[in-house]
Point group: C2
Chain length 182, copies 2
DNA sequence: GCTGCCATGTAAACCGTTACATGATTGG
DNA sequence: CCAATCATGTAACGGTTTACATGGCAGC
């Protein structure tokens, strides 16, 4: 019955933190700063802003060129945002294709398993690289989530390296050392 | 256009690994072994099995008492499963309410932030405790995913502890400043 | 004039959750 | 006999993705 409305919260959070913004701006913000935490495209954002305006959580502050509409958070919206943050017990619905592949690894022969783990590792590494490019100090907003992402990313990479070492076996250890990781 | 069909893969994986099973059995398996990797309830599983049978990926092997239907994976299904595992580049669509709360922490005053992080920490700890209860050696199936979950869980807990220390610690003034600014 | 980005939206299809619904069997 | 568990399903709703669609403005 309960709808979680996390998309609303994310939008309210961005509006509260960075001031009035258009749907377009918010979509960009999702791409830039929130993509490792929550995802949403403009096709989800535009209708949601309309509904949120109807519910009094945001208001159109001004309309600019090219039909650009600037939304601002209302006191009601700011209040709801803080209530959610303090009261909401976070739920986790893990759905990770990488973890699913890891789960099913024993179905494969050793060679194939190594290929799969290498690909998973590459993806973890890429994700981590993206996070490590982000400024850690300048934007204070989102820095806790950034650190959480970094911690999880490093742990995931370490898992991939351990798993590869195990799959390649003790004989391969010497080769590993000589060639280096990755 | 492409649907990822990860639910199908998960079902095929379980059928391949543990032999023929009913929808009910599969729902239990999800709860028991796959819940930290992929989630699905019986209302999703039953219709999906019917569609998979129509597509020739599984077949009803026998019907037992109480209308119990035993599904078995077909050679076609096993082949598709392995192709997916070897070829599929895993995609991640992160949607974590805990991370969202972490992201928005700077909106709160120090006291509230501590309460929120404590709750997040408790949930990470609970998740980890569940994983640590699972047998690590007996069932080799799923053990790689289990280790991945443990690694990520420990990293998440460490993040919570560090964050709490920072929020409570002598640097806490910096957080207050950050909240006050802008 | 063309390319690319700004800026907004709608509609259909798909995936997942919640609620509803039914009946058989086992153990106390 | 009653409760719990086994066992299967359907329907409605809501959230997400993909595809479609439009037009303004800026720089080359």
């Amino acid at each position: 019955m309960l709808t979680y409305m996390s998309l609303r919260i994310a939008l309210l959070g961005l509006l509260d933190a960075t001031g009035p913004a258009s749907g377009y701006d918010l979509a960009k913000s999702f791409e830039r700063s929130l993509n490792h935490v929550w995802q949403a495209g403009h096709t989800q954002i535009y209708p949601e802003l309309v509904k949120m305006a109807a519910d009094g959580l945001v208001a159109v502050e001004s309309e600019g060129a090219r039909g650009r509409k600037l939304y601002a958070i209302t006191p009601e919206g700011a209040s709801r945002l803080r209530s959610w943050l303090v009261e909401r017990e976070p739920t986790s619905a893990p759905r990770s294709e990488a973890a699913l592949q890891a789960f099913l690894l024993p179905l494969l022969d050793r060679e194939s398993a190594i290929v799969v783990v290498e690909r998973i590792r590459a993806q973890f590494a890429e994700r981590l690289a993206v996070l490590e490019c982000k400024p850690r100090d300048t934007s204070r907003f989102g820095r806790y989530a950034l650190r959480l992402g970094l911690a999880q990313g490093h742990a995931s990479l370490a898992w991939a390296d351990e798993t590869l070492a195990e799959l390649r076996g003790p004989d391969a250890a010497a080769v590993d050392d000589a060639v280096g990781r990755d």
